[in-house]
């Protein structure tokens, strides 16, 4: 077993007391390496959002505003 997979299984077992339930679980856990790579690629590209309700504010800020039928104009 690769070192990364062993490390992931060990971490999950230590922190949660959960063992890999089947082979797909082991294979998908190994894919966490791709997740790390994706996060690495994004480093430095976006700032941390300091506003605690930033997403909800963004929904309001970007929402559909204009009437979109003649009937509602």
């Amino acid at each position: 077993m690769a070192a990364f997979e062993t490390q992931v299984e060990s971490t999950i077992s230590r922190w949660h007391g959960i063992k890999p339930p089947n082979d797909p679980a082991k294979r998908l856990a190994a894919e966490l390496a791709d997740t790390i790579a994706a996060f690495e690629a994004l480093r430095g590209t976006l700032a941390f959002e300091e506003e605690p309700a930033g997403f909800e504010l963004a929904l309001q800020a970007t929402k559909e505003k204009a009437p979109y039928t003649k009937a509602s104009m």
């Binding site: 992931v8 971490t11 999950i12 922190w15 949660h16 007391g17 959960i18 063992k19 890999p20 339930p21 089947n22 082979d23 797909p24 679980a25 294979r27 998908l28 856990a29 894919e31 966490l32 997740t35 994706a38 996060f39 690629a41 994004l42 590209t45 976006l46 700032a47 941390f48 959002e49 506003e51 930033g54 997403f55 909800e56 504010l57 963004a58 929904l59 309001q60 800020a61 970007t62 929402k63 559909e64 979109y68 039928t69 003649k70 009937a71 509602s72």
Partner: protein, 478 residues
């Protein structure tokens, strides 16, 4: 109306209100098709016929007395089996909840009951709403009415299959990564995932608090508009639900797309897409263009970030919900869920917080670049021809099956992270006779806009009227 189960939701409720049929007749039509087809498609996993018949008779009495009627009066419905009704079974598709009877009732169920609808059955679903295919280890896989060996899409598998097989006028689904739109696409029906926070989630089984959405699957955009008008809006029992006012969504369905700008992404959504799916989308664009819409091809920004951040939130949020069962009884889960959930326990909290904290800025950046140029985005709902249940069976498939499995929801997941409304409408068939879906996404709280485009498309096409051939073979009522 000799074929009642073929009737659209809006027509059915109007017919009951107008005295042209009865609620009991609608229910009996659903039962007739259910009896003929459910042994094959396995969409319904429990029924309460006596209770439903009593509700139908009560609805008919209200009509006879001339009482004020709601927007869904007299329509029998069955929903994904994760909408709690106090004292009634709610399996959540799992052996772990095979006898679970909650003590609360979901706000959306209450709102539909207040509008005159009633529940007659519980629908099959992916275990705890966690797969995009329709596999279920405990209650049996749900089969596509159009071609039985093929997936229905999930996780609202029974919702899509029951509406397609004409034994349900409308079903609630839930959508955390595509679970309304995928079965809508695969089963040839219409389904909308509303804006994040648009519909209350009180009394609904949670999967991922940040990405979960409640919405309808029905035959048409108009049917979905009717239901959304009833269920949307703030709920004090769900403080995360939006205070945004709820319009009558049917008012926007005027068929006029002359002021509508449609964007077609040139990146991400067509990567690896199968030709029949792309052809279906291109043909649909011509229909929309003929209705007056303008078409623009554009590259979407920030898709790497959307994919990376969106990919971990659901896993991180689902993991603690299931931790106790994963420790004590992991084999009670199918590999479809336990295998996917397991890596969630290794995700660092800092990754999760990073993904959440960037959601707002990413939505702002995406909206600034995209919605300054177009009003809606159009993509295939599922970018490949439908796979079979066998091809996506993680429980005993070879290594690599997981990749095929996860690819099903590649085009739907981004709109959960972005929180945008998106509807899927049927737009053709693949070489195996399975439906192809067209996804239409819009700005936050732009449900009226995306339903307007979907409805305009359905005015000029017949895919939503086509019936699975199995209906004729099995001698179904409709």
């Amino acid at each position: 109306m000799p074929k009642l189960a073929e009737t659209l939701l809006v027509e059915a409720t109007d017919a009951v209100a107008g005295g042209k049929t009865t609620s009991l007749a609608l229910l009996q039509a659903c039962w007739a098709n259910l009896d003929a087809l459910n042994p094959l498609v396995n969409a319904v996993i429990w029924e309460e016929r006596a209770q439903a018949e009593a509700a139908a008779r009560a609805a008919d009495e209200k009509v006879a007395k001339g009482e004020r009627l709601g927007l869904l009066h007299g329509v029998p419905m069955a929903h994904k089996d994760m909408y709690y009704q106090a004292g009634r079974l709610s399996t959540c598709g799992s052996a772990l909840r095979k006898d679970y009877r909650p003590t609360v009732t979901a706000t959306v169920i209450k709102r539909m009951e207040q509008a005159g609808a009633y529940v007659f059955a519980g629908l099959n679903m992916a275990e705890f709403a966690q797969n995009p295919t329709g596999h279920n280890k405990t209650y049996g896989d749900c089969h596509n009415p159009w071609n039985l060996p093929y997936i229905t899409g999930g996780s609202s598998s029974g919702s899509g299959a029951s509406v397609a097989a004409r034994f349900n006028f409308m079903a609630l689904g839930s959508d955390t990564g595509g679970s309304i739109r995928l079965p809508a696409s695969a089963c040839g029906v219409t389904g909308i995932k509303p804006t994040q926070t648009r519909v209350s989630r009180y009394g609904v089984m949670p999967l991922s608090f940040s990405h979960d959405n409640v919405g309808p699957l029905a035959r048409t955009a108009r049917d979905c508009a009717r239901v959304l008008t009833v269920i949307a809006g703030h709920d004090p029992l769900d403080p995360t639900s939006s205070h945004e006012l709820v319009p009558d969504y049917e008012q926007f369905l005027d068929g006029d797309l002359r002021d509508t700008r449609i964007g077609v992404p040139t990146n991400f959504f067509l990567d690896g897409a199968d030709d029949p799916v792309v052809s279906g989308m291109e043909a649909a664009l011509k229909v929309l263009e003929a209705r007056g819409a303008s078409i623009m091809r554009l590259e979407l920004p920030l898709m790497d970030a959307v994919a990376a951040y969106g990919g971990i939130i659901s896993r991180a949020e689902a993991a603690p919900i299931h931790a106790e069962w994963m420790r004590q009884d992991p084999q009670a889960y199918g590999a479809h869920i336990s295998g996917r959930m397991y890596p969630g326990y290794a995700l660092p909290a800092s990754y999760y917080i990073e993904a959440l904290s960037r959601r707002g800025p990413i939505l702002r950046g995406f909206a600034k670049d995209v919605f300054s140029q177009v009003d809606v985005l159009v993509t295939p709902t599922i970018k490949t021809c439908l796979p079979t249940l066998e091809e996506t069976n993680i429980d005993h498939g070879p290594p690599g099956t997981e990749t095929r499995f996860m690819a099903v929801s590649a085009n739907t997941r981004p709109f959960n992270y972005l929180g945008l409304p998106a509807v899927s409408v049927p737009c053709g068939f693949d070489p195996n006779g399975c439906p192809i879906g067209l996804q239409i996404a819009g700005r936050p709280f732009g449900e009226g806009r995306v339903l307007k485009v979907a409805d305009a498309y359905q005015r000029d096409t017949r895919y939503h009227w086509q019936r699975p051939p199995i209906l004729e073979k099995m001698g179904a009522e409709a």
